[in-house]
């Protein structure tokens, strides 16, 4: 499904701010894998997702999606294969456009933008049904501007948008980090449901070790731009937060200091 071969990325090379963000990442995802990604601040988790999505070109290595080499193509062309939900609820939707218009934009991911109508009445009916299933009351606010929605509502909508054109790969970058615990749980449950329903392959970055253990069938831990732990199947099911903390201290040599992870 997704194959990363020796990916490298250095930011600000040759300057005092030089940062080797990705340091030879090798990773193969199987069809239907739901992988959670954990690691300390600056470990390269978000950088990894941005590299896969094509936010900027990588320095070295190959990225293959379904055996198609996407290393050389820019973000908007890669988007044909990839659905994304960002950490910032503002990032995933167009605030000044209506809810139904946002969905219509997402429904055209990977397609040429022609001079046909941007949204059809048939689509509007479908979107209403989908929004009904979200159970957030959005089905009655189809023509409201997305900027009026709460963070949780926006993330739920972004999830729906990201999965509308069934993507080969779903990238979730700490998409519940900016939400309150109750809303975060709701959005996570929705994530599980959407991934299962559409049998999606997904990478989910999280700071919450409990979530990382409870969701998905595989877990990877990153440190200093490398994958230091890759656990799946039965082994992952038995995993505890203590195991992960111990492992983290072992590889990084420091105590895990993120409050978010400890409080979870």
């Amino acid at each position: 499904m997704l194959k990363l071969i020796n990916i490298k990325k250095t930011f600000n090379p040759g300057t005092i701010n030089e940062k080797r963000a990705l340091n030879g990442i090798n990773l193969t995802l199987n069809d239907g894998d739901f992988v959670t990604v954990i690691g300390g601040n600056g470990a390269g988790k978000s950088t990894l997702l941005n590299a896969i999505a094509g936010s900027w070109p990588i320095d070295d290595g190959s990225i293959l999606i379904d055996d198609i080499d996407v290393t050389g193509i820019p973000v908007y062309k890669r988007a044909k294969f990839i659905g994304r939900v960002f950490q910032d609820p503002m990032s995933g939707t167009a605030a000044t456009m209506q809810i139904d218009e946002n969905l219509a934009l997402a429904a055209r991911r990977g397609k040429r933008r022609t001079l046909r109508w941007g949204i059809t009445s048939k689509e509007k009916k479908e979107y209403k049904k989908m929004l009904c299933e979200l159970d957030l009351g959005l089905e009655n606010r189809m023509t409201s501007k997305v900027g009026l929605l709460s963070g949780g509502q926006r993330q739920a909508l972004t999830l729906l948008m990201a999965s509308l054109q069934r993507p080969k790969l779903l990238l979730l970058d700490e998409h519940t980090a900016a939400l309150d615990p109750k809303t975060a749980a709701k959005v996570l449950a929705l994530t599980d449901k959407i991934i299962k329903e559409h049998h999606l392959t997904a990478l989910m970055v999280t700071h919450n070790m409990k979530d990382a253990i409870a969701h998905g069938n595989r877990l990877i831990m990153m440190d200093k731009g490398q994958i230091v732990l890759d656990i799946s199947g039965k082994e992952k099911e038995k995993l505890t937060v203590e195991d992960l903390l111990a492992k983290f201290e072992e590889v990084s040599g420091v105590e895990f200091t993120s409050d978010k992870a400890l409080l979870a």
């Binding site: 933008r113 001079l115 046909r116």
Partner: protein, 324 residues
């Protein structure tokens, strides 16, 4: 611009004002086209495009020179629009391909166009008499000028309403609203910016071509401050539209109110001139008008939510201790 002949009396004559108004409506309608172009870049694309001051004169220059060379007027206007498209394309390429900031890209094109406009015109002023050529719009016949202006505005508004409802138009609006999300939705945001800049400057050049015919000449400096007038029309139109329609303000209403904003702007200018304000201070007046219309919504918003108001309320609660 409307002019008032002093009749020896220092008291402004109301009849003079009424006589001058239709001309300002006609001018406002033509400038409305420019304002629609400015709206596309400033509002939809969130790109402050300074190309306008140059491409407006380019449109006028190309139209006048083409007509003087016996090109039929409609074709001359099409050529003017094409020159506008090229101007927008250059600004777009400077910004997207060479990473030059939006404002600076526009300014560079604008400056370059000054020389190009002079090359097209051959001198700083070129006259185009309605007596010798069959112009489609002229200050000589104001009633017909208003009708032609109305036709142009209605057609352009219809086309814009249709276009920004299509998949491509929606992609342009999305690019202006959230570039990150647009890229993630497989929209080529650089291409969308270039397309929007081309459409915008085509409208601006078309407006230039019509104004040149209306006033019967093209002058090298006629585009100076055009961007501010366009912006004034957009803001006046939006403020008034929001005041009248409130939440019912939709896209097509917005487009109409922008043209209305241009008409109101020219009417106000006319009143100011009628009040015997010296014509030299018009630019100062324009700047003040735009500043006022920009400030009104902000101050109105502050009325409901300001530190001053919160401080006063707080004092009432605890009975007036000293503020920090």
């Amino acid at each position: 611009m409307c002019t008032f002949i002093s009749l020896g009396s220092s008291i402004p004559n109301i009849n003079q004002l009424f006589n001058a108004l239709p001309g300002n409506i006609a001018q406002g309608l033509i400038w409305g086209l420019l304002a629609l172009g400015v709206f596309i870049t400033f509002r939809l694309l969130d790109f402050p495009d300074m190309t306008v001051d140059g491409s407006f004169t380019t449109g006028a220059a190309v139209t006048v020179i083409a007509i003087l060379n016996d090109v039929p007027v409609p074709i001359a206007l099409v050529i003017a629009a094409i020159f506008g498209i090229i101007a927008g394309l250059i600004t777009g390429i400077l910004h997207t391909k060479f990473g030059i900031p939006a404002i600076l890209s526009g300014i560079l094109t604008q400056i370059a166009l000054w020389s190009i406009n002079l090359m097209i015109m051959g001198s700083a002023n070129v006259a185009l008499s309605v007596d010798n050529y069959s112009l489609i719009i002229s200050a000589r016949n104001i009633n017909s000028a208003i009708i032609i202006g109305l036709i142009f505005c209605t057609v352009i508004i219809s086309i814009l309403y249709w276009y920004f409802g299509t998949e491509q138009g929606s992609a342009i609006r999305a690019t202006g609203s959230n570039p990150t999300m647009s890229s993630a939705s497989s929209i080529n945001i650089n291409l969308m910016k270039i397309i929007a800049l081309c459409i915008s400057n085509a409208l601006v050049a078309l407006a230039g071509g019509l104004i040149a015919q209306y006033q019967g000449y093209v002058a090298i400096n006629m585009g100076q401050g055009a961007i501010v007038i366009g912006l004034a029309a957009v803001i006046i139109g939006e403020v008034i539209g929001n005041a009248i329609l409130g939440k019912k303000m939709n896209f097509i209403a917005r487009l109409f109110f922008i043209v209305l904003g241009a008409i109101i702007y020219y009417t106000v200018i006319c009143i100011v001139l009628w009040l015997k304000m010296p014509a030299d201070s018009l630019k100062l007046f324009t700047a003040i008008t735009v500043a006022i219309f920009l400030a009104v919504p902000y101050i109105k918003g502050n009325k409901t939510s300001s530190f001053k108001a919160a401080g006063k309320k707080s004092k009432l609660i605890h009975g007036g201790q000293k503020n920090a």
